[in-house]
């Protein structure tokens, strides 16, 4: 595929150095010298202290000035005297041992570059800050003529300097097609084209732009540009790549663009929407942005390793998408080129660490990784509030009842005994297979592995080896609202860092610990109820360690409130003081495929090695302290003895209340269960300990760092605290003199790129020293400053760009003076993004299912792609789901839609600030053979046949109007007519082929014809479909 490799579109790779340093012009340090010093010298003489050679820095004026060579006699740079400057001597040297950069570095300077540096020194070696780190300027536009906008004045000045004649304004048809596709991602209808063509009023184009900006499709179109940067995908990524429901965030983006949310707010909400004053559901939802990175659930992964990875991804995304800086280069060491220290990097990272998250998502449940936001509807909220009030009322009533009844718990033993569901005494443990349950009709407990029967606390007990244990179905499926008590005697052999005593859960990190458990952590008892550890759980840990090598009776009771206050630990019948580690359980603790209760072991967790236990008993009730005291002290026989029949009425009232409370809590659980949730940011109270990671390694924490912004970049003063909100405010200051130098420049450049295919800065992801300097620095600053002055108004900026002459020029006839259109002498002629290409096909074929937002859909995709990689299946959504706009197509990171990646869509695994554009035979195959496009072409053909009964020649014009917004030329008409006739002839001879061709995809032309009351000749339709396809493969169709 030789051409394939060669044909890279012009739009993509424009990394020329726009050196203005012709011999006559004075040298501009920022654009001519600094990039050279950075690119060729900084690797060894740059900001990174560790790799710095000869203690020499060439990225800072002060450093160079201060530096001396040869015993302090020779200055490295002597302004005005290249001959006395060691720098020049060394770069011009012929001596291989002296020459800089060293010949084997692959960084050698050309003669012209050496000369440039020499001239710079001779001209005084003037230093300036790197252009993008300088404050935003407010350039005075060159004098404008007539209605010319300042934007055009800046562009035209450059054109005039270079003596390039700009192309004329494009014709009306091209214009409306271009601007409609660019602003809405959809083609104009023939009627719209006609109306615009006929509207000769001076404001016609502005009116058109206003209409398009107000169209609901504008939000969908613009969202696509941000989804790449935000690495939006519908699956977690990494190898298992499970589906996750994050589309509500995508819809938030669509709305934000649609409603023209100012960009400062757009950023602030995404970075810190949970922290803003008056944070609401929407602003919190926006913070899902920081959780869209890949996540893993691969078995055996080290949780902390991946948590570090997630935080790094947030920082990298902030760098690329918002700052245009390659922050990630400073993750392992100081940045080699830009003045970003490794400390700066981890100070940025510290803003993003303080949330209650795990480095692994759950393999065994599909529960949403914490922290999460409940996407609660008004109705749900109302019902929830009601249910919660009901629970509070019943709780109050119950405690009042207990207070009044002068409740003597010991008298209730009989009642409590009735709630017993398991009693395993291990007296018959000698067969090592299972032990009967003393409770009638209740299941036995089985041995897993071979725990050893030993002399227990009371008769026979069991000893464990850390791998083996016992399992039973009893007590294996309680939810948080169901009260329970679990008691047993244990004798630990050692102080365990961690050991599982008992649990109901499928696994530890592989299931986010979902269930309930009793562990020993650093020798202390630790009880928990968990939906998703750590952010949706209750955990209490005993303050004192449990004695080792002696028996203790250990009881855990849970009162059904799901709160830490209701989760109690007793040792030898006495409640022990505990620390509350987590108290934020909200959702179910069931599920994940585990409904057994296990003792002593857990999948991929540390078991109760060398530990012994005995006398396991479970109750479906939270036994009060007095009963537990009896249970622990007097042993099992005592429990059922003391009965007080006189209190039957009181018992009945109590039981009614308890049962109502249970039901009410269950009601809350049911409402919570129906509320969808999404991963978001939720700041934990206080500061999370954040550390620099040596060499970027998760297991090599270094010095402590604080969440603070670098002092060399933008205004750092007046930061009152250190949260993500402060970070967002630092980025989006509007007061003059305090504006961030990068944020507005970066976004203005990116939006410019959306419409021109290339930015004013050709490296949208890198505004650092290694990036390209802007072609139009004044224009960039003008747009950026103006953007902030206009309150970060995105639609206004877009309007400003698309109503310019530069945008409206004809794209035909690029010349050698401006072959890549870097000076904007011509209008843009970029290959449309694949989303627009596919959507245009659907719209032209009248197939587009218009619905803004909602869950992702599964349109046509070749069979077996998901299966061959990961065994998962892809079932296409027939009908509407195959006809939604492309931004709703499900994005599976390990197997993204091939028709889209073939057209240069990135994999969405990491943040990407722009797409390259290539041209390959695979793209031809997609447009020619993909069911989606064949079906759409039939839709177009049907439309032409249905809408017009004119001659074939006139119909061809109609076809072109639909697809290209223009009629055909005589020559084109002739070619297409001849194709039509010949295809018609061939197909007429082969009814089977025609039939096959017409049944590709869902579009039912017969049904459509019927409902219109017309008849369609199948052969004619098939031939017209081929002709439509022909037009949909024209360059003009994909690159308007």
């Amino acid at each position: 595929m030789r051409e394939l490799a060669a044909c890279i579109s012009l739009v993509s790779l424009t990394l020329l150095n726009f050196s203005s340093a012709a011999a006559s012009e004075p040298i501009d340090f920022a654009s001519d010298i600094l990039p050279l010093l950075s690119d060729r010298c900084s690797l060894c003489h740059g900001p990174d202290e560790e790799s710095r050679h000869a203690d020499l820095r060439l990225d800072l004026e002060q450093a160079v000035d201060a530096e001396t060579q040869n015993g302090g006699l020779e200055r490295v740079i002597v302004p005005g005297h290249s001959a006395s400057s060691e720098l020049i001597r060394r770069i011009a040297s012929d001596d291989v041992s002296e020459k800089m950069p060293p010949p084997d570095s692959n960084l050698s300077l050309t003669n012209a570059e050496v000369e440039l540096l020499r001239r710079w020194v001779d001209e005084g070696a003037k230093w300036e800050k790197h252009w993008s780190f300088r404050d935003l300027s407010v350039p005075v536009p060159p004098p404008t003529s007539g209605s010319q906008s300042p934007l055009d004045a800046f562009v035209d000045v450059k054109l005039q300097t270079q003596k390039i004649v700009p192309a004329p304004i494009a014709d009306a048809r091209s214009l409306i097609r271009r601007v409609t596709l660019d602003l809405t991602g959809l083609p104009p209808t023939p009627a719209e084209v006609q109306a615009f063509w006929q509207d000769e009023s001076p404001g016609a184009f502005d009116k058109l732009v206003d209409r398009l900006l107000a169209s609901p499709s504008f939000g969908e179109r613009m969202a696509v540009t941000w989804l790449d940067a935000a690495r939006y995908a519908d699956t977690y990524g990494y190898q298992s790549d499970v589906y996750r429901e994050v589309w509500p965030w995508r819809d938030w983006v669509i709305r934000a663009f649609q409603e023209n949310m100012p960009y400062d707010q757009f950023l602030t909400h995404q970075l810190a929407g949970d922290l803003i004053p008056d944070a609401d559901l929407n602003s919190k939802l926006a913070t899902a942005f920081n959780r869209l990175h890949r996540q893993t659930n691969e078995g055996g992964s080290v949780e902390e390793e991946f948590r570090a990875e997630y935080i790094a991804d947030r920082v990298n995304t902030l760098g690329t998408a918002v700052l245009g800086l390659t922050l990630e280069c400073a993750r392992c060491h100081d940045h080699k080129y830009d003045p970003i220290s490794q400390r700066d990097y981890y100070q940025f990272a510290a803003f993003f660490t303080n949330i209650d998250e795990s480095g692994l998502y759950s393999h065994f449940t599909n529960y949403v990784p914490t922290p999460t936001l409940d996407l609660v509807s008004e109705d749900q909220q109302r019902r929830l509030t009601e249910a919660e009030a009901n629970v509070s009322r019943l709780e109050a009533e119950l405690s009042e009842f207990y207070a009044k009844a002068g409740f003597d718990e010991a008298k209730w033993l009989a009642l409590h005994a009735e709630s017993e569901v398991a009693n395993y005494s291990f007296g018959d443990a000698s067969d090592s297979i299972s032990v009967e349950n003393a409770i009638k009709d209740s299941a036995p407990i089985k041995f897993v592995g071979s725990p050893s029967p030993i002399a227990g606390r009371n008769g026979t007990g069991v000893e464990l080896d850390g791998e083996n244990g016992l399992t039973t179905t009893v007590g294996g499926d309680w939810d948080w609202y169901q009260p329970f008590t679990i008691a047993l005697s244990i004798k630990p052999a050692q102080i365990h860092d961690r050991a599982v005593i008992w649990h109901r859960s499928k696994a530890w990190t592989d299931a986010a610990s979902c269930g309930y458990e009793l562990l020993l952590e650093d020798g202390c008892l630790s009880a928990a109820l968990i939906h998703f550890w750590p952010g949706d759980a209750v955990r209490v840990v005993a303050k004192e360690p449990l004695p080792i090598q002696s028996w203790s009776h250990v009881t855990v009771s849970s009162d059904g409130s799901g709160k830490a206050s209701g989760l109690k630990i007793y040792v030898d019948g006495l409640e022990v003081p505990t620390r509350v580690i987590r108290d934020k359980l909200r959702r179910t603790i069931r599920g994940g495929g585990a409904n057994t209760f296990d003792v002593g072991h857990r999948f991929r967790d540390r078991g109760f090695k060398g530990g012994q236990f005995d006398e396991l008993r479970m109750f479906s009730r939270d036994l009060p302290a007095s009963t537990i005291a009896v249970l622990a002290k007097n042993g099992i026989e005592q429990l059922a003895e003391t009965v007080e029949p006189t209190i039957a009425q009181t018992i009945s009232h109590q039981e009614t209340l308890r049962s109502e409370l249970l039901k009410a809590r269950q009601g809350i659980a049911a409402i919570r269960a129906e509320i969808p949730s999404i991963m978001t940011m939720r700041e934990e109270p206080g500061l999370h300990e954040a550390r620099l990671l040596i060499r970027g390694q998760y297991d090599r924490p270094g010095e402590m760092v604080m969440p603070i912004v670098p002092d060399w970049l933008g205004p750092a003063d007046e930061l009152t605290s250190n949260t993500r909100l402060d970070l967002a405010r630092w980025l989006t200051r509007s007061e003059s003199g305090k504006r961030h130098p990068l944020v507005a420049r970066v976004v203005v450049n990116r939006i410019w790129q959306v419409f021109f295919g290339q930015g004013l800065v050709a490296t949208p992801e890198d505004f650092g020293m290694q990036g390209q300097p802007p072609t139009h620095p004044l224009l960039l600053d003008h747009l950026a400053s103006h953007f902030i002055d206009q309150d970060w108004d995105v639609k206004q900026l877009v309007r400003h760009i698309v109503t310019s002459d530069a945008y409206r020029r004809s794209s035909a006839g690029l010349t050698t003076e401006d072959p890549e259109n870097r000076w904007f002498s011509h209008g843009p002629s970029l290959r449309l993004p694949i989303e627009t290409i596919r959507d245009a096909a659907l719209a032209s074929g009248n197939l587009l299912a218009c619905q803004v937002g909602g869950p992702p859909v599964k349109p046509y995709q070749p069979e077996g792609l998901w299966k061959e990689k990961s065994g998962s299946s892809y079932t296409r959504d027939v009908g509407k789901g195959s006809h939604r706009r492309s931004l709703y197509t499900i994005w599976k990171r390990t197997s993204p839609p091939p028709s889209m990646t073939i057209f240069d869509a990135p994999g969405r695994e990491v943040c990407v600030a722009g797409r390259t554009t290539t041209q390959t035979p695979l793209q031809a195959l997609v447009l020619l053979n993909d069911e989606q496009f064949v079906e759409a072409a039939r839709g177009v053909a049907f439309r032409v046949l249905a809408e017009s009964s004119n001659s074939a020649s006139e119909r061809l014009d109609r076809l072109a109007e639909i697809l290209l917004a223009r009629p055909t030329s005589t020559e084109e008409n002739k070619i297409l007519l001849s194709l039509l006739e010949s295809q018609d002839k061939q197909l007429r001879q082969s009814p089977d082929s025609t039939q096959q061709f017409l049944t590709i995809g869902d579009f039912d032309y017969k049904g459509a014809a019927e409902s219109l009351g017309i008849s369609i000749d199948p052969v004619e339709l098939a031939a017209w479909t081929v002709v439509s396809q022909t037009m949909m493969n024209l360059k003009e169709w994909v690159s308007p």
């Binding site: 030789r2 394939l4 490799a5 790549d241 002629s829 077996g864 053979n929 020559e971």
Partner: protein
């Protein structure tokens, strides 16, 4: 000129109508694969190559990677450890583990019992290399192999480890080896992709991901093209049902005429590129099925590769396809075979894996050799990491499992200038640590690039302000692996 600048230069040349992609694709004959002989650094590079010349004389001009996804156990295949059999059931000594990290799957195991291999090893070939009884066919070609027993990696989980092997980074977003080769060396055939990928069908196991053959930040032109055992061997290759090749030809002719008109009217010479892409697509519609159609292979081929080679999508069929693609000048063919992740039930599992791969892997090397192609085709076999000396889960008389082990594992190279009949590197008695000649993943990749005529430090792409390369900032060409 930096690589990007020269890429740009090249793009500009296109723009001005230099005929590389012109209609008719004339003057391409001189670049056909058969005209390329290894051993001369001045020989022409492929079409679209970023390099101006090879950095040095290439030993291999093409490559096949047999990627054994999941992490094959070195102790069962290539690294015989009698000590493990002797100490079977005893705890892994701390002096061997040295506190090195384990995965979360076995780190909490109460005991880490050493597991001796159930399989016998014996010396083979004149080199006397010890090969497992599981690989009877590969054992016969051992004198053609350069076995490396001392490869090591940094990652301990599948996704990061396999991504690291393919792209030189554990983090997603970097180009794969094949993409780098396409970018650096370009294409040496007229109508097939430069970089082809095949996955054994219905194999199951640890998932694979398209990033493993992706182009990362390189232009997507360089991403691997998957050939599949399906009605359309390349995605979207087949004309829609009901559209004949003749009808398609007519349509393309009309399309081409329309493009010519437009090119004339707008002076847009890039339209020619588009036409060329459509012509290439049309040619691919014939050339790909031709490669995939094995009916022209004599029965002796199937005797060599095994009957399974007759079933499309099997590893054997893919090996045969690899040879056919290499014959037709495809630069890089990569096979993925899943299922080597034997955490439990290892003896049975690995026996099955070997039964499905041993004969065809050996056949591929033999076949290339018989056809005189092995000298210029580098074949590399291996997975993303090795497996532990201790048993994951219970060790019983006839069953055990092994967890991931990144600290040493085995691979082999054949042909393409690799050193035949050699064993490189030594591990300790437990195959836990490397004793001599460690070979990092970056070293393997540096050596592969070296054999293909590329200095791994000089094939770079500037992205986000930095010159990226496959081997990051590391990698040493391992001289001991070179013939």
């Amino acid at each position: 000129m930096s690589p990007n600048e020269s890429l740009n230069e090249q793009t500009r040349r296109h723009f001005f109508g230099k005929s590389v992609c012109g209609i008719g694709t004339a003057a391409l004959g001189s670049l056909l694969a058969n005209d390329l002989t290894a051993g001369d650094s001045n020989q022409p590079l492929g079409e679209g190559a970023i390099l101006d010349t090879f950095h040095h004389a290439p030993r291999a001009k093409q490559m096949i990677s047999l990627f054994m996804s999941g992490g094959p156990s070195q102790m069962e295949l290539w690294d015989d450890k009698p000590m493990l059999r002797k100490m079977n059931g005893q705890e892994l000594p701390d002096s061997v583990r040295r506190g090195q990290r384990l995965t979360g799957m076995s780190v909490n195991q109460a005991s880490l019992p050493l597991a001796g291999s159930s399989f016998e090893f014996s010396p083979h070939g004149t080199s006397g290399t010890m090969v497992s009884e599981l690989l009877p066919h590969t054992a016969k070609i051992v004198d053609d192999l350069c076995v490396v027993r001392s490869v090591f990696t940094e990652a301990i989980n599948h996704d990061p480890a396999i991504t690291f092997f393919q792209t030189g980074s554990q983090i997603a977003g970097r180009p794969s080896l094949g993409a780098w080769l396409s970018y650096g060396l370009g294409s040496i055939n007229e109508d097939l992709p430069t970089f082809c990928v095949m996955i054994t069908k219905n194999q199951g196991g640890q998932p694979l991901y398209s990033r493993l053959w992706g182009s990362g930040f390189l232009p997507s032109t360089h991403q691997g093209t998957q050939l599949r055992a399906a009605a359309a061997p390349v995605l979207y290759l087949n004309n829609p049902d009901g559209i004949s090749r003749q009808a398609r030809r007519e349509m393309l002719d009309a399309l081409s005429s329309l493009h010519e008109i437009r090119a004339r009217e707008t002076f847009d010479s890039t339209i020619n590129e588009r036409v060329a892409q459509y012509e290439l697509a049309y040619r691919m519609q014939a050339s790909v099925p031709e490669v995939a159609n094995l009916s022209d292979e004599p029965e002796s081929t199937f005797e060599l590769y095994g009957e399974a080679a007759k079933t499309p999508g099997t590893f054997a069929a893919n090996c045969l396809m690899a040879r056919r693609l290499i014959e037709r000048g495809v630069r890089f063919v990569q096979l993925f075979h899943q299922g080597w992740d034997q955490h439990g039930g290892l003896p049975g599992g690995i026996r099955n894996q070997c039964a499905n791969t041993d004969q065809a892997s050996a056949a591929l090397v033999t076949d290339l050799k018989q056809r005189g192609m092995l000298d210029e085709t580098l074949v590399v076999w291996g997975g993303e990491f090795g497996r532990t000396a201790y048993s994951q889960g219970a060790l019983t008389a006839d069953n055990y499992g092994r967890d991931h082990h990144p600290r040493c594992f085995s691979m082999w190279l054949a042909g393409g200038g690799s050193k035949p009949g050699t064993v490189y590197g030594t591990t300790d008695d437990f195959s836990y640590n490397i004793l001599e000649n460690p070979v990092h993943v970056h070293d393997i990749n540096a050596t592969i690039l070296h054999l293909l005529g590329i200095d791994h430090k000089r094939l770079t792409f500037r992205h986000q302000g930095r010159r990226f390369r496959l081997t990051d900032v590391e990698g040493i060409v391992v001289k001991g692996l070179l013939a």
